[in-house]
């Protein structure tokens, strides 16, 4: 008997119609834990680098994290992995709410989709009954509409993940939506390319735990902790002061920082708009928090958002919250990601102002900014005219449009739109996280070490006293002595980057939500889950012995596997750079030394490639062999060998 996991993958080949329930290798639990970890092993084994993202041979994998469906609260993430048409690299995205637990109750840890259907279909799963069904009646329907229609047809116990017209038309930043959750970063486009409109799933099976009594007590205890702890969940769901985003993030096409924008009047106005239209705040499966704000806006579909999701549209359009509320329900129903879409539109509008796009390119475009945003939504979703170019994201659109448009692509890394932040001085750990991160969005990389120091020694001491989550004593010492944001040694920058990333890799294997774990430590330092307690919880649930060291090795293995997938697809050092204007004050010489040091810290070559030694230590011998065979490594490869020399240095010139 398997505990915590079901022990089965559901394999669906859309080209042949073949459906199989396949038992998974039990050793993979110890090697990868689950979720994205084992999904990446499958991508490594089965999708060679020549496979284009829009090839039938690309896989689209839905994974339920190890803890999903078990008594462990706040674990409900469905992690979706594939290769993204936008970056041509590994795609990581995930969503909360109910889908992953339902997969487990239906008896599957993963749904692995291969091939391409010859017409639009949806996948029906009710325990062991799995069918590829015609979806012609769902064609063109929105993500919410599709869920409503299918729930009416199949019953409300079905959990549905659907794409909208954006996904059907393979907009690169199309989302997959389910209940109040959403996943984008390439996966929606691949789902559309495979012509899968939706997956509808219902399960009625038992999901067993290894230690019933302990698991019961643990679940109840942690649920109470999550409910009572103000430092987990999305504090923005309750704190109406959103100066954080409005004063610090860049408006328009990631251009303008409006320090002092946030005033008591704005706060009052925004708060009123919110509560006048707020139906409810909801949480995800097995989580007492309430992070989703559910909004009814006149004439629009009911929608929900989390955190910064409410700001992206109005900040891109230099408007106020009412504009975001007016457009969000429409855009999300169309199945467009609300991080990338506003940036693409703001970019197009800058090109128009600069005369690079003209009235000829934009027939019928309204004169007002709000009308223009809706105009672009429509063009992009339909891939009509300029919309067809913009549907590939800023990087590709800039190159297709030419005439100097490339200069307006100033906020992408690895061809992917970054969070619109433009700051003053270079920040070493952030340089490393943005440059070397492979989850493409900083919110999926940062999170355990605080973003900023606390002003006084007393406050820092108080913070450190209750900082159980701190990975080890070094971090406490560093935090106590830390006074200025950018005053960080190279050793600190490397260790902080690694710890931040590690917790996300662990969450994406266990299915834990970043708001109770990896993302949340940076604000308050009091997460419910951390490196010290997760191993014990794995043991209670699965019966497999885990300790901190073993879990840390899993993180390293999973992290190197993603790097290996991307290296094999051509990613190298030159791709690892934050947007040039991310900081006004840069120090390129120092940055390159920093990058060398981090590569060495991770056991990577000067090109950012894991060495044979690094790979073998992590039982990734098969990756090493492949790299040697392809000539990616020679066997005599070395790490940069500069770390010892520079590790105590602070950034030059700061």
């Amino acid at each position: 008997m398997r505990y915590g996991e079901t022990g089965y993958f559901l394999e669906i080949d859309l080209s042949t119609g073949n459906i199989e329930k396949v038992e998974s290798d039990p050793r993979w639990l110890e090697l990868y834990v689950g979720g994205q970890g084992s999904a990446d092993r499958i991508l490594w084994d089965r999708v060679p680098p020549e496979v284009e993202p829009f090839s039938p041979d690309n896989l689209l994998i839905f994974s339920a994290g190890l803890f999903c469906g078990t008594p462990i609260p706040g674990a409900n993430r469905t992690i979706v992995n594939t290769f993204s048409p936008q970056t041509n690299l590994h795609a990581h995205t995930m969503m909360g709410s109910y889908f992953a637990p339902e997969m487990k109750f239906a008896g599957y840890d993963k749904i692995i989709i291969k091939g391409k259907a010859d017409k639009l279909v949806y996948i029906y799963i009710c325990d062991d009954k799995v069918e590829i069904r015609d979806a012609s009646h769902l064609k063109g329907l929105g993500t919410y509409d599709t869920q409503e229609v299918l729930k009416k047809e199949l019953g409300h116990r079905f959990q549905i993940a659907a794409i909208g017209p954006a996904g059907e038309n393979r907009v690169f930043y199309a989302s997959i939506d389910h209940s109040h959750a959403s996943a984008a970063r390439g996966a929606g486009a691949v789902m559309g390319d495979k012509r899968v409109k939706a997956i509808a799933i219902k399960g009625t099976k038992d999901l067993y735990v290894a230690n019933p009594q302990k698991a019961f007590e643990l679940g109840n205890r942690l649920r109470k902790e999550i409910a009572e702890n103000p430092h987990v969940g999305d504090w923005m769901a309750v704190d109406e002061d959103d100066s954080f985003h409005h004063d610090n993030f860049a408006w328009g096409n990631a251009r303008v920082r409006r320090k002092g924008y946030w005033t008591p009047e704005i706060e009052e106005r925004f708060t009123r708009i919110k509560y006048d239209h707020l139906d409810r705040q909801t949480g995800c499966f097995n989580c007492p928090k309430r992070c989703h704000n559910v909004i009814s806006w006149p004439g629009r579909k009911r929608f929900s958002y989390k955190c910064f999701g409410k700001d992206t549209y109005h900040m891109a359009a230099f408007q106020e919250l009412d504009f975001s509320y007016d457009i969000l329900g429409v855009a999300q129903n169309l199945g467009l990601d609300s991080y990338t879409t506003p940036q693409v539109i703001a970019f197009a509008l800058e090109l128009y102002e600069a005369g690079i796009l003209t009235d000829n390119d934009l027939p019928g475009m309204p004169n007002d900014i709000k009308g223009r945003f809706f105009y672009f939504l429509d063009k992009i979703v339909k891939r009509e005219g300029i919309g067809d170019i913009l549907a590939d994201g800023v990087y590709w659109a800039a190159r297709k449009i030419g005439k100097g448009a490339e200069a307006f692509d100033h906020n992408t890394t690895k061809k992917f739109e970054q969070v619109p932040i433009k700051l003053g001085k270079l920040n070493p750990p952030y340089f490393l996280m943005i440059a070397t991160g492979e989850k493409m969005n900083i919110t999926q990389i940062e999170g355990s070490f605080p973003q900023d120091p606390l002003p006084t020694r007393e406050e820092r001491e108080e913070f450190v006293r209750g900082w159980i989550a701190a990975k080890d004593e070094r971090f406490k010492k560093w935090f106590l002595e830390w006074e200025k944001r950018e005053m960080v040694t190279i050793e600190m920058a490397c260790a902080i980057t690694e710890w931040n990333e590690a917790m996300h890799y662990i969450d994406d294997a266990t299915g834990l939500c970043g708001f109770v774990s990896s993302f949340r430590g940076q604000f308050g330092g009091r997460t419910v889950y951390h490196i010290h307690n997760i191993p014990e919880f794995i043991t209670v649930i699965t019966g497999v012995e885990f300790d901190e060291e073993k879990l840390w090795t899993v993180y390293k293995r999973n992290r190197n596997l993603v790097r290996a997938l991307n290296v094999r697809r051509g990613m190298r050092r030159e791709d690892e750079k934050p947007p040039e204007d991310h900081w006004a004050v840069r120090n390129h010489e120092y940055e390159q030394i920093l990058l060398d040091c981090y590569y060495e810290y991770q056991g990577w070559t000067k090109q950012g490639i894991p060495t044979v030694e690094t790979l073998k230590k992590l039982d990734l011998d098969f990756v090493a062999e492949d790299f040697l065979k392809r000539g990616i490594l020679t066997g005599n490869d070395e790490v940069p060998n500069v770390y010892e020399k520079y590790k105590d240095k602070y950034p030059w010139g700061i």
Binding site: P73, Y144, V209, F216, C284, N286, C287, K301
Partner: protein, 179 residues
């Protein structure tokens, strides 16, 4: 003649749909408590409380498994809540022949909420694990006429009034023979 009043404990689980956040923790713990062996698995389909969630119409309703009934209703009604139509069956707590709600998905045997009898907790576990305050529990003592507690007596009296003694006795004899 008035009988002497007796005390009866009424257990009441209240549900406030405005407070529900849709977490389904109530379903999770209920299924753990009733798992065999105890706590060994999670399976909302085996929970004695189910939350009907229609997030697009913003409806959240928790229903607790009630009595098993052998026959289905002969007429149904429907409710429209916030523009969404629901059949009575959706809100019905009975395990009945017409549907699989509140039945063991494997054996088909009916479920009934036992208010966590025998659990080491002063309140039912679904209420305890509902941190939103949507589920609350009240126990009150009421004084009742002793005879009203015997449901069979009430039923027989009704039958006699309606059909007369002779017909009822005949029917009972006939049914007993067929059993």
């Amino acid at each position: 003649m008035e009988g002497q009043k007796v005390k009866k404990k009424i257990k009441e689980i209240r549900f406030d749909m405005d407070k529900c956040n849709g977490c389904r923790c109530c379903e999770i713990v209920c299924s753990q408590v009733h798992a065999n062996p105890k706590y060994s698995s999670v399976n909302p389909a085996k929970s004695r409380i189910r939350v009907i969630i229609d997030e697009f119409a913003d409806n959240y309703v928790a229903i607790r498994a009630g009595q098993y009934t052998e026959a289905e209703c002969n007429a149904r009604n429907s409710f429209t809540i916030r523009g969404r139509e629901f059949g009575t069956c959706e809100f019905c707590p009975a395990a009945c022949p017409s549907r699989d709600a509140f039945k063991d998905p494997e054996s088909g045997l009916p479920f009934k909420c036992d208010a966590c009898e025998g659990e080491d907790s002063d309140i039912p576990m679904c209420v305890k694990e509902c941190h939103s305050g949507a589920l609350t529990y009240i126990e009150r003592e009421v004084e009742v006429e002793p005879h009203t507690t015997d449901e069979l007596q009430v039923s027989v009296a009704t039958l006699l009034k309606r059909h007369g003694l002779e017909k009822v006795v005949d029917t009972i004899a006939k049914v007993a023979k067929e059993l």
